[in-house]
Symmetry: C2
DNA sequence: GATTAGCACTCGGAAGATAAGAGTGCTAGC
DNA sequence: GCTAGCACTCTTATCTTCCGAGTGCTAATC
């Protein structure tokens, strides 16, 4: 059933008033805004309460939006805000700062999001499982060489190996051939103990080094598939009146700081078409979030990777402004990581960017 | 002036009682423990108050240790606890887990320390400025090469460079020669625009790539000298009664999360001879910490680097147990990073460890 | 029929009052 | 020098009282 125009205006006013003040909204307060008497508004609010969009903390208090009320607000009533010039500038400036590893970037973006929205925020990028594209071995001196691993997702990992005995340049070359022949194209699960042992047998007098390199390879592949994640601003919760109770705040902060649960819930729930998703109170899967809301935006991280930034706050969250900011940041990240001038993803884009900086 | 034996016992009892309960300690509660009547204890406590070791929240309440009281307790009275078998095992297990980058290690150690002590914790390693020892360029394909940089502190950094035009193997080799000749041995401040420009002139047709690699080099050197740091468990504060007030908790959490200030204060204050330092309430430099205490331990991170782990909590902190745990963890880190079988520091040690694992 | 003014009623929260209890300081006796 | 006893202090918990914001309903008005 469709609500009358006036009911919509009243619901909107209640939600926005409550978002701003955290106090239940009374009929008198709305009389002027809506343009009719408080009695009329009381009648309307009474009906909205009956329909489940508003709630009364107690019989003689104003009204507060219910989760359904927030949902309606978010879906239909709220005005799609845009970020201000100043905010956009601040975001762009942050994002364009010097080149960064993905881990570092996630941590920075988490902080940026949190400071822009004033809510705790997280940022993460999901990665597909990777394999090794090629191995390189750099002979440094007779006790030292460096292993460089190029992965299918175009990340490069390295390791300095320092030995208590000496090796020759040729031995390192042999090792290189061996690994490029046997270990490329495999995901972490496919590197079996058996494969390592058979490689050791083939390695001749460098057999002792095979395990070291293989283990490093597995380490690379494992870390390549886990989502780098940044969480920031958990303490922001404490400035919200709904978390004045330290026990509540503690429980929620623990949940947020331990990002794993957030990640798995993201995987379970899809995204809306516009790359934005709002889950309100009881809509959240995690028990810890049943009294809170999450606003999340996704971005294209290039190379088929998808990333997510999100914000956690009370159900009385400023959805309109938060959604606008998240969308803007997400768009910026997409541009940064997978924009038209960055066809090969993170690494490439950053290189080109850097060159631009220096060619100015 | 030296305190009588009984005064010491009373002060110790007050401190430990208050640490355990967070309630002011009355004379009656101590009568049994000390072995004399409450009146006697009242007299003694009255004198201890006069000397500044105890305080009274109000005239008809028990006593609470003053900062001076805690100080005396920490310096002379407190029993040097040892960690239990179980705790030691847990710490060792955590520390011995798979190889890690220093950043990752700091973050893990911060978490470990926080979970062992139940207080917010941080971990960081100070690094001296580094220079590049050698450059290696790996030619991948005509649009791609990898730069590998070995630093004087034995860390290795790399970067995949993807080009919108093609290069030859020889051009990359030229670049390698050029960089090894001009950029090794320099710290970040010593790489000037002038040097970059003169290298560009010498680079012939690869001049366009010099800026990219030089900028990456600076990036490496900068990140090599900033202290990697892990902060964890800030939300633990909320379980302490002295931070039930959300505003206090918020202020302190903000301070902790933003680790920079902590780092600079560490630099200002030295360490005690045993690698442990306790700063109580007003002894702290930072205004935000005037009502809190910090326990800190340092460790040897190899290669002349020094690291610090620390814990922040109320002045009513369990100094004895926290100090024991920090010392143990710090010792473990020293062993891990600079132990006798790890003369070349972090990288080496981890390699050897890993080999052991696999040779079993 | 929708809107509004008026009014009695409800209920939560603030302010004040009272009571209980923990702990002190002091004095006098051992 | 220690202890028992006692009057006194001050906080905290609990209970009352009171105020006012806000409601729901009814009757009058547009």
């Amino acid at each position: 059933m469709e609500l009358s125009e006036r009911k919509k205006r009243i619901l909107t006013a209640v939600v926005e008033n409550y978002i701003a003040t955290a106090e239940p909204v009374g009929s008198k307060a709305l009389a002027e805004t809506i343009g009719c008497s408080s009695a009329t508004i009381r009648n309307e609010m009474s009906e909205l309460t009956g329909m489940g969009y508003l709630e009364q903390p107690h019989t003689s208090a104003g009204r507060v939006p219910s989760p359904a009320g927030y949902r309606l607000y978010v879906n239909e009533l709220m005005e799609r805000q845009k970020v201000t010039e100043a905010e956009a500038a601040a975001i762009n400036e942050k994002l364009s700062q010097r080149e960064r590893q993905l881990e570092q970037l996630m941590s920075d973006v988490g902080q940026l999001t949190s400071s822009m929205t004033q809510y705790p925020a997280y940022a993460l990028t999901m990665k597909p499982p990777a394999a090794v594209k090629r191995f390189d071995f750099i002979y440094v001196d007779q006790n030292t060489f460096i292993v460089v691993v190029l992965l299918t997702d175009n990340t490069v990992k390295n390791k300095l190996v320092h030995l208590p005995f000496s090796v020759h340049q040729e031995q390192v070359t042999t090792l290189s051939t061996l690994f490029n022949a046997n270990f490329t194209g495999l995901t972490d699960g496919e590197i079996t103990d058996q494969l390592i042992r058979s490689t050791e047998r083939a390695a001749g007098d460098t057999y002792g080094l095979v395990a070291v390199v293989a283990s490093f390879t597995i380490e690379c592949l494992t870390s390549a598939k886990t989502a780098p994640m940044g969480v920031a601003g958990a303490s922001q919760l404490l400035s919200q009146p709904e978390y004045r109770d330290p026990d509540k705040a503690h429980a929620l902060m623990n949940f947020i700081s331990n990002g794993d649960r957030l990640v798995s819930d993201i995987a379970k729930m899809g995204m809306e078409r516009d790359g934005l998703r709002v889950t309100i109170g009881p809509e959240n899967l995690a028990e810890e979030l049943k009294d809170s809301s999450v606003v999340m935006a996704s971005y294209d991280a290039g190379d088929g990777m998808r990333g997510y930034i999100g914000v956690v706050g009370p159900t009385r969250m400023d959805y309109s402004s938060v959604a606008a900011k998240l969308s803007y940041i997400a768009a910026g990240l997409s541009r940064l990581l997978a924009g038209p001038d960055a066809p090969a993803g993170l690494n490439n884009k950053l290189v080109l960017k850097e060159r631009d900086d220096h060619e100015q």
